[in-house]
Amino acid sequence: MARRAGLLITLVIVAQMAGQVSAQGQTPGRGNGRAAPPAGAAAGRGRGYDPRPPADPAQVERGKGLYGVQCTFCHGADARGGEGGPNLVRSGVVLNDISGELIAPVLRNGRPELGMPKFDLTPAQMSDVTAFLHTFRATGRDTLRNPIPNILVGDAKAGQVYFTAKCSSCHSVTGDLKGLASKFSDPKALQQRWLMPGGGRGAATASPKTVTVTVSPSQKFEGRLDRIDDFTVTLIETDGTSRTFIRKGSTPAVEVHDPLRPHKDLLPVYTDKDIHNVTAYLATVK
């Protein structure tokens, strides 16, 4: 049992770390490294919001047992609300409690006006229940609670028709895409990959952009695009030579070739159904 509890806590920590995405957060710009977590921050505890020291896994496991017996019916196995009882994870009492000082009186006295009975628990047991409640994270992604639903809902036949019409001028399931689906255990990853190879918001690309810089009719340079803004353009020639040109308006002429352009051009065109159908089709390409 102790081993299982340890595993559970590890999973919770991983889920918590994965969920550390802030709506109002701002990631430092490209080229600026993110700070390492401060040494004092308890790992995975929702950075800077949880003042509680990490709990003893054995205590959490005892609390889990007690909670299952005494509390689950009303408050739910995941503490997010059950038959009549409110969500405890967002409860002010639970959020503000450090080590039982707010939770224990509620357990001891109940909340008769709200239909909550008193609980005859020892102080040690109350402390165990409290420790268990504090293992739930209020925000962020909780993969323990939310098993990933199956996204393969499309019509593979319709997807094949769409693929033939829109994709086959560049791609073939017997050529470059041969065995595509066998490379992905997660259909979501397959879907993201075919929508935009290289992923992300188009920042990274599978095949690099190339550029042609025409200095004069007799002087043309071509290579992989290394860097461009309104003022300079840098390309890397096939032999590795790096060349930088100063840009002034349209001089020299700069033409960028983006191999992902057809993928980008389709983004405003797809319906969600098209996407799901193509994914269902490509999932058969094993």
């Binding site: 969920g19 995405v21 802030s22 709506a23 109002q24 957060g25 701002q26 990631t27 430092p28 710009g29 490209r30 080229g31 600026n32 490294g33 993110r34 401060p38 004092g40 921050a41 800077g48 919001y49 003042p51 997010r80 994870v89 967002r90 959020l95 503000n96 209020a138 925000t139 962020g140 992604r141 909780d142 609670r145 939310n146 639903p149 996204i151 809902v153 499309g154 979501k188 879907q191 993201q192 929508l195 935009m196 992923g199 992300g200 918001r201 188009g202 920042a203 952009k209 461009i228 803004d229 309104d230 003022f231 308006g249 960028v256 992902l260 983004l267 405003p268 969600d272 996407i275 799901h276």
Partner: protein, 572 residues
């Protein structure tokens, strides 16, 4: 006008001793259009970020050159700025003043930390600059950038995303800290006068905002990514006592907005945090500010089918009473965490043949609005991001009608914009010379997957997975307030997506016929506001904060924050 004069008179009396000694900011200076100094977040109350200064202008900007640069060192383990300390022979280190209720273990430092990244607006008052990052504040000499003092707050935690700047009243500065304290500093010494807790950290509040000083009110908004009640609070600048508090969502059954929610509990914990400053109209005493997203942000069933007022709404709050005067919802029943907190811009300009008092805003969901700022009457809606695909057109009030099929899908819904938005918190600018509103934007797509099929939904930002699928471009976009149409836009060449919620850059316009801002290539650039033609640039390696301007000893400066450094330019 009478009321504001009385208010300012009372304030002036209270400030008597400080102002008599020639120190500090006279609150009436805040009523003037942006010119020599920069005494509040947007430079003046209008949010236009349009400076009347003309010494630097289109004809001479080619002669703009670097005057000074100054580097900060955030955190507890240092004394002052980049010039202090070090090996012998340097200038004496600036004093470091330490405050705070934490242990210091959670404070960030080092060049990559968010406390070393300046995104704040920088105050310029009486030849001194005042600026801040999470847990840190500095004063610097505006003539040569040397650091005068450094204040560090030992934090107890909270989300350390950024800090938007400080407010000033007399010789006092007001700083919000990530662990939710309002800290009042002596502007001369950087020493703490008092601090007040704004909200409990245990409820996952965090504070990044710049306090706004209006008369004897210090207006403070917070952030929260759970679902804790959202409020704007007015504090007394002398004592830190609460004067009034306005909640963004109904907190009791008497609130008429309650009918837009499933029930009172959903409304109470319905979000709407005001984490970016608003703008102020001294004539009507209205503080006009955008509210944040409703919560739960994505799994919205528990909120009911209604509009969820007053989340994602432009609201006008009377600063004397803290009461709502009018509202216009810019994103009814938002389902993508697209806050409408973007700074609104107050403009007096012709509209349909007569001069109107307008408010203009471009919100994170890709839509652009012009309203009457006295009454809230809707005048114009447009799209500044042509790819935005989550709506089914406009309703009779000029509000976009959301398409529920584009909320999310278990198998994924392709939605534009991404969660980061078509724009985000970076301040826009408006030039009366061109009549155009400028904002940095992105046309981007993401797949939104529903991951929580539990009918109870998820709290906060949970319950979905968002995966980016591509950016079709990032832009400097000029909008026509009369039509809601794009006047022109300049695409940043081959630029990838902006990072995080840093969608674009804070902008500046001036009467010298200049439009300035950072670009994704790390340049600070001056454009012709009429057409976006490039006039001047300097490569700084990364522009992180607003471009600002001030005039000192007859010399106009252009001030740029680039990560951990300030750069000041002037004519050679």
């Amino acid at each position: 006008m009478k009321n504001i004069k009385e208010l300012l008179f009372v304030t002036a009396l209270a400030l008597g001793s400080e102002l008599a000694s020639g120190q500090g900011l006279d609150p009436s200076a805040l009523l003037k259009p942006l010119s020599d100094s920069w005494p509040t977040y947007s430079g003046d109350y209008s949010g236009k970020r349009y400076s009347a200064l003309t010494q630097i202008n289109q004809s001479n900007i080619k002669n703009l050159g670097l005057v000074w640069t100054s580097r900060i060192t955030a955190g507890l383990g240092n004394a002052g700025g980049g010039r202090g300390g070090g090996f012998g022979g340097g200038a004496a280190a600036a004093p470091t003043i330490i405050g705070g209720e934490g242990t210091g273990e959670l404070n960030e430092s080092g060049p990559g930390s968010r406390s070393s990244r300046i995104v704040s607006s920088i105050l310029e008052v009486d030849g001194k600059l005042y600026f801040s990052t999470p847990d840190n504040a500095w004063a610097a000499d505006a003539r040569d950038g040397h650091i005068l003092w450094h204040f560090v707050w030992k934090t107890k935690g909270g989300t350390h995303t950024g800090n938007r700047g400080m407010g000033m009243w007399g010789n006092r500065l007001f700083l919000e800290t990530p662990d939710n304290f309002l800290v009042c500093l002596d502007a001369t010494t950087g020493k703490e006068l008092w601090h007040k807790m704004l909200a409990p950290l245990s409820q996952q509040y965090f504070s990044t905002n710049s306090p706004i000083v209006i008369g004897n009110h210090v207006l403070v908004g917070l952030g929260n990514d759970l679902d804790s009640p959202a409020f704007l609070t007015s504090y007394d600048p002398e004592t830190g006592e609460i004067q009034w508090r306005w909640y963004a969502t109904p907190q009791d059954a008497s609130d008429p907005a309650l009918k837009t929610w499933a029930n009172l509990t959903a409304a109470k914990f319905g979000g709407g945090h005001m984490w970016i400053p608003g703008s102020y109209d001294p004539e009507t005493h209205l503080y006009i500010i955008g509210t944040g997203n409703p919560t739960p942000a994505y799994t919205s069933k528990s909120r009911g089918e209604g509009d969820n007022l007053y989340t994602c709404t432009l609201v006008a709050i009377n600063v004397d009473t803290g009461k709502l005067a009018w509202y216009f919802q810019t994103s009814p029943h938002d389902t993508h965490d697209w806050d409408s907190t973007q700074t609104p811009v107050l403009v007096d300009a012709p509209f349909n043949g007569r001069q109107r008092k307008l408010v203009i805003t471009a919100t994170r969901n890709g839509f652009f609005y012009t309203l009457d700022r006295v009454t809230g009457e809707h005048l114009v809606t447009g799209k500044f991001s042509p790819t935005a695909n989550w709506d089914q057109g406009l309703d009779g009030k000029g509000q976009p009608v959301r398409n529920p099929a584009k909320d999310f899908d278990i198998a994924g819904a392709l939605v534009s914009p991404t969660n980061a938005g078509a724009t985000n918190w970076m301040p826009p600018t408006f030039s009366p010379d061109t009549g155009l509103f400028y904002v940095t934007t992105e046309d981007s797509y993401a797949m939104y997957y529903l991951t929580d099929t539990d009918p109870r939904g998820s709290m906060g930002l949970g319950g979905k997975e968002e995966q980016g699928t591509g950016s079709l471009g990032t832009f400097l976009t000029a909008m026509d307030y009369k039509t809601g149409k794009i006047a022109w836009r300049h695409q940043y060449p081959e630029a990838g997506a902006w990072g995080g919620t840093n969608v674009g850059h804070a902008l500046l316009t001036t009467a010298g016929k200049l439009l300035m801002g950072g670009d994704p290539g790390g340049n600070v650039v001056a454009y012709d506001p009429a057409n976006g033609a490039i006039l001047w640039h300097a490569q700084l390696g990364g522009v992180s904060g607003p471009v600002q301007t001030y005039m000192l000893d007859g010399k106009q400066y252009i001030l740029v924050s680039a990560v951990d450094s300030l750069y000041a330019f002037a004519l050679n």
